[in-house]
């Protein structure tokens, strides 16, 4: 009892963060991973919207529920992955000096992260398309900050 209480207290204890840095020591960043994940979010959203049971019998309903659950789980996972990849770019790659060139940098990332959450909360194709557009904007910022203008090519 005491042990469980103490464990609960320790798990909830407010604490500052100490960073076990997880960005690669080579300093390699690429918004491509965010783009692939955002594309997957859009793809799963479209598939979910199009999904319907093949019939009214129990087997069809079960198959529908199973596929629906799997699609939602993938959409959830890819949304979270998109957010993680964007946060790495935002907090690790972009530096304060980039703000002079991209004054809306923080706003862009913040809204993109919010869209990742929105894509988890609902099955909304408009939000998923907005997320992909936000990732494209970040893609452009990223490559222009490196003095390159890599074109936007999607996998799907």
């Amino acid at each position: 009892m005491l042990s469980e209480t103490l464990t609960s207290i320790f798990n909830k204890l407010p604490a500052k963060s100490v960073h076990a840095h997880c960005d690669g020591p080579c300093g390699v960043y690429d918004p491509a991973s965010a783009r692939v994940a955002a594309e997957a979010v859009l793809s799963m959203t479209k598939k979910l919207i199009a999904l319907a049971p093949a019939g009214n019998d129990q087997a069809s309903i079960s198959a529908y529920n199973n596929t629906f659950s799997r699609f939602v789980a993938i959409k959830e996972e890819e949304s979270q992955k998109t957010k993680k990849e964007l946060l790495i770019l935002w907090t690790d790659y972009f530096k304060p000096e980039h703000l002079a060139t991209y004054p809306d940098l923080h706003d862009t990332f913040w809204k993109a992260a919010k869209l990742c959450s929105a894509c988890k909360v609902s099955i909304d194709q408009t939000k998923a398309e907005e997320l992909l557009a936000a990732v494209q904007k970040i893609h452009s910022m990223f490559w222009s900050s490196k003095g390159r203008s890599d074109s936007w090519i999607t996998a799907s």
Binding site: S3, L6, F10, C22, P25
Partner: protein, 125 residues
């Protein structure tokens, strides 16, 4: 055990206890929560660690210790690493998960005055 990862020092791993809680409350120990995976093998995201601030009169740091340090390039950011080597009061700090760690290989040697404390307890999430 993943190849290339440091072996965790088992003695640091503790179960939550009243004494530690008391020492945290009175400020004898400090505590922090781990973010990131560069110390994977020993620390994982969400783990709570405690440390004692370094006593300037008795610097007791040795190779293998896990320390909390101020990031040399980013203000108000704390990092947690293991002492890999010591060169005349300068510290080569490395993450246990060398494949995914920003450490002295990139940041250079860390000055003693950036080292804040030595980790003395780990509470796995």
């Amino acid at each position: 055990m993943i190849a290339g990862l440091q072996q965790a020092n088992k003695s640091l791993f503790q179960k939550p206890d009243l004494l530690t809680l008391f020492t945290l409350i009175i400020g004898y120990r400090q505590h922090l929560r781990v973010v990131g995976n560069s110390m994977e093998g020993t620390l994982k995201e969400g783990d709570l660690i405690t440390y004692k601030k370094l006593n300037p009169k008795n610097i007791d740091l040795k190779i293998g210790d896990i320390v909390v340090a101020s990031h040399p390039k980013i203000k108000n950011k704390l990092i947690i690493k293991r002492i890999n080597m010591i060169y005349q009061n300068k510290f080569d700090l490395r993450g246990d998960n060398s494949m995914s760690s920003t450490d002295s290989r990139e940041l250079g040697l860390i000055e003693l005055d950036l080292i804040i404390g030595k980790v003395d307890k780990i509470f796995s999430k």
